[in-house]
């Protein structure tokens, strides 16, 4: 950008145009603004080249562009704003096909927004038809022949090449008859639709796409009628072409892998768009095939084929060429790059329409893609449902089969078996009854009678001869019929019928009362056991808690003793476990005595009244930027209750003077002995001195307390301390530093000078 010759005003206005509000352009600021302008322009160019997502970029840019100029990155964001402003209709326009639309956009941007008029028109076109119908508008432009549709179909399948050619063959065959250059659209459309459907069916996979093309065709035809910009003939042609391209688009959208197949598709920003473009391009290419063989190779600038819709006889064109040719007319609409003969010379009009059509087609294809996806999802759910039903059915059948097989065991001697079974049943019942009575009444002799009893009973009935046999059957069968055969020796398995001396029921059928009683007893016993267990657990828990409390008590006592020990160094307690622990604690605490954490009573050996560093660095937030008055009130220097001794106030004065030893402007110090807050009032020579003292004192640790300082009004100070009015001589610390404990003292004395360094250390 030749910006060297810009005057100040030009620079200013240029920067403003790019969305950046500059300050005054003076001789000093000029170079800076020039650099800024360069940067903004570069960013703009960059954004223009990345036209893949103009609307998103525009949106983002507008959002960011509205940012402040004083922000850290104002210009870069501001740049986007004008670009966004320049494309108001972009967002809506790129809904659908994007293929040609985005392609149109790129050259637009490259030419520096010169085509904004056309761009604006495309949105206008699209807005009236936001539906997916708009693809038809797109399709109209290339007026694809039947062969283009074939190309669509072929493009749909993954291995589309072969399929495409097949489809094309079919289409070509079908189309020629319908093609008649007269554009009998309805007939053509019907034929095309049928052919499309047939072809689509023949192809693998995309079975569901049949309906969509026809629907789309219908939609397209409707939208075609809506298109006001085209003449009647154009409309018809468009419809036909749109139909084809529409179907093509449908197929294309389903066969997403078509993108790379067409060179022209490379220009597309989005894959679906590329798919669209591929389809369209192929259509156009096919049409133009006769006229221009290069169409299919043409990548995006082959708008030349717009007129070749008349070429219905191209059916046998190779797919690529057809694809490209299909796309050609579409493209040519945009850029009048017509090298082939256009039967349709809609030219500029078509060009304007194709972008919106492209977008609509794009959108449509995207919707189709999504529908296809949802379709498969639908299939999946159906499949799962069916699988579950089948599974349950199978399960039931298996169960029945098992039952049947189980039930079909005994088929031989059925009658005899039934009789035996009945006998056994009665025997069983009787035995159960007896056994129940036995259990309840607890008499054993009854079992002896069992055998005879049952036999006599059995003989009374008609199963006389079968009693023995039934018993034998019991022995033979392994099933548990509820009757146990007991021989002479108990617990010996009975193998021969002669050994049977007793019969016993394994399932005693007890009278109700007995049963109830037994149940009751069982329940009670069980509850009792449970209660015992609960009681045990509870007792354990209780014991644990007791122990824990005991321990806590012990430790508390220990702490008390420790505290007492700290106060009295030489105390010695009776021999106790806690004593040793107390000594240990005291030993560990001894090392902490110098820390300002314990506020203990006075003890001569214990150091006190020392400055112990700074708590926080002074900055703008916690201190006034400049000293206000020469009077200070220092808080929390001491605790009047805890102070012992005669001259502790003097000690405090000394401490303050030492802290401000470099500040020789302190003229009066007053320690308020009775203040609970431990206040000390200081007056300095000037505000500057008081400021220095403030910096030195505020936020320091003194004797384990955090000291705070604030300014006082001079008149109040004089009201309170009238003697201070006459003080003008600076006070000085008297004598060497008394409150030194090792190195800490040195630190404290140097605290005032090093406060800044310490504060910087803190920060």
């Amino acid at each position: 950008m030749a910006s060297m010759q810009l005057t100040d005003e030009e620079l200013f206005s240029e920067l403003k145009r790019l969305g950046f509000t500059p300050g005054p352009v003076t001789e000093n600021t000029r170079p800076v603004y020039l650099k800024k302008l360069k940067k903004l322009r570069e960013e703009q160019q960059q954004r223009g080249s990345r036209s893949g997502k103009p609307r998103s970029g525009a949106v983002v840019n507008s959002i960011i562009g509205g940012g402040n100029t004083t922000g850290s990155r104002p210009a870069s964001h501001d740049v986007t704003q004008p670009s966004s402003n320049r494309r108001p209709g972009r967002k809506s326009s790129v809904l659908g096909f994007s293929s040609d639309e985005s392609d149109a956009e790129i050259p637009l941007k490259r030419k520096g927004l010169n085509h904004s008029g056309r761009v604006d028109r495309s949105p206008a076109f699209q807005q009236p038809k936001p539906r997916p119908i708009t693809p038809t508008v797109v399709n109209k432009n290339h007026h694809g022949a039947g062969s283009p549709l074939n190309s669509n179909d072929s493009s749909r399948s993954p291995d589309g090449h072969r399929g495409v050619s097949l489809v094309w063959g079919a289409r070509a065959r079908s189309s020629p008859e319908a093609e008649g250059r007269d554009y009998d659209e309805s007939g053509d459309e019907d034929d095309n639709e049928q052919a499309t459907e047939k072809n689509s069916r023949s192809l693998n996979g995309c079975g569901a796409s049949h309906s969509t093309p026809s629907k789309l065709a219908g939609d397209y035809s409707d939208s075609d009628e809506e298109e006001a910009n085209l003449g009647a003939e154009d409309r018809r042609r468009d419809r036909l072409g749109g139909h084809r391209s529409h179907t093509k688009a449908a197929f294309l959208s389903q066969g997403v892998g078509r993108g790379p197949q067409t060179g022209g598709a490379a220009r597309e920003a989005s894959p679906s768009g590329s798919v669209n473009m591929v389809g369209r391009r192929r259509e156009e290419g096919e049409e133009d095939e006769e006229a221009d063989q290069n169409n299919h190779v043409d990548s995006g600038d082959g708008y030349s084929r717009s007129g070749d819709i008349s070429r219905f006889s191209i059916g046998l064109r190779p797919r690529f060429s057809s694809y490209s040719s299909l796309s050609q007319p579409y493209r040519s609409n945009h850029s009048n790059h017509s090298t082939s003969n256009h039967t349709y010379s809609q030219a500029a009009l078509k060009q304007k329409l194709s972008p919106p059509e492209d977008e609509l087609l794009q959108q449509f294809k995207r919707e189709e893609v999504t529908s296809h996806g949802s379709f498969s999802a639908h299939y999946l759910s159906m499949f799962l449902l069916i699988a579950a039903c089948l599974f349950f059915l199978l399960l039931g059948l298996m169960y029945l089969r098992m039952r049947g097989s189980g039930a079909t065991e005994a088929d031989a001697d059925k009658v005899k078996k039934d009789v035996i079974l009945q006998l056994l049943l009665s025997l069983h019942d009787h035995l159960a009854h007896i056994a129940g009575m036995c259990v309840c009444v607890d008499t054993f002799f009854m079992t002896m009678l069992l055998f005879f009893f049952s036999l006599s009973q059995a003989q009374n009935q008609q199963f006389e001869g079968l009693v023995l046999e039934s018993l034998e059957w019991i022995i033979r069968s392994d099933q548990d019929v509820g009757i146990r055969l007991i021989g002479q020796v108990p617990d010996d398995p009975v193998t021969d019928i002669n050994e049977i001396s007793r019969l016993e029921s394994t399932h005693p059928n007890m009278p109700f009362v007995c049963r109830f009683r037994r149940a009751f007893l069982t329940g009670i016993s069980r509850v009792f056991v449970f209660l015992v267990a609960v009681g045990l657990v509870w007792s354990v828990v209780f014991y644990i808690k007791y122990r824990w409390r005991r321990e806590e008590e012990e430790t508390r006592q220990m702490y008390d003793m420790v505290e007492r020990i700290i106060g009295k160094e030489l105390d010695s307690l009776s021999g106790d476990k806690t004593f040793s622990t107390c000594l240990f604690f005291s030993a560990t605490l001894r090392s902490d005595l110098t820390e300002p954490s314990l506020s203990c009573d006075k003890s001569t050996s214990m150091p006190s009244k020392v400055w112990q560093g700074k708590a926080f660095p002074l900055d703008r937030r916690n201190s006034p930027p400049n000293s206000l008055t020469p009077c200070l009130k220092i808080r929390n220097m001491f605790d009047p209750i805890m102070e012992v001794g005669e001259n502790w106030d003097l000690a405090i004065q000394e401490a303050i003077l030492e802290k401000c030893c470099d500040n020789d402007g302190i003229v009066h110090i007053a320690v308020d002995k009775n203040s609970k807050e431990g206040c000390v009032y200081v007056k300095c020579l000037s505000a500057e001195h008081s400021g220095k003292a403030f910096k030195a004192l505020h936020g320091s640790w003194f004797d384990g307390k955090l000291v705070t300082v604030k300014y006082l009004r001079l008149d109040r100070y004089h009201q309170r301390f009238p003697q201070a009015q006459s003080c003008t001589t600076p006070m000085k610390a008297s004598g060497p530093h008394l409150r030194a404990v090792g190195s800490t003292d040195g630190t404290a004395s140097r605290a005032s000078t090093s406060s800044s360094s310490s504060s910087s250390g803190f920060s």
Binding site: T26, N28, T29, V32, T70, S72, P625, S763
Partner: protein, 90 residues
């Protein structure tokens, strides 16, 4: 607390008055001399430039770099110093 130098703190603690340009944080002897040669002999002149550039960080830092060859740290320090001074007194 951000790490600000002592120079920064000193400058921000009070009105700049007639302070020399070398009292600005990030501006030492060499840079200060260059600035003075360009006519920015006082801190308030640099501050004026700062205001002219509408207190924009990027612009001011660019300007500083062009004018006296300050590196990015020095630029940042100076900008921060002036900005804080603005917050405190302006």
């Amino acid at each position: 607390m951000s790490s600000t130098s002592q120079k920064h703190k000193d400058f921000v603690a009070e009105p700049m008055g007639e302070k020399s340009v070398t009292t600005l944080a990030g501006i030492g002897e060499v840079l200060g001399k260059r600035l003075e040669e360009k006519g920015f002999d006082k801190a308030y002149v640099v501050f004026g430039q700062f205001l002219l550039l509408k207190k924009d960080k990027e612009l001011f830092q660019d300007w500083l770099k062009d004018t006296c060859g300050a590196n990015s740290k020095q630029q940042g320090d100076c900008f921060g110093c002036l900005k804080d001074w603005c917050d405190a007194f302006l």
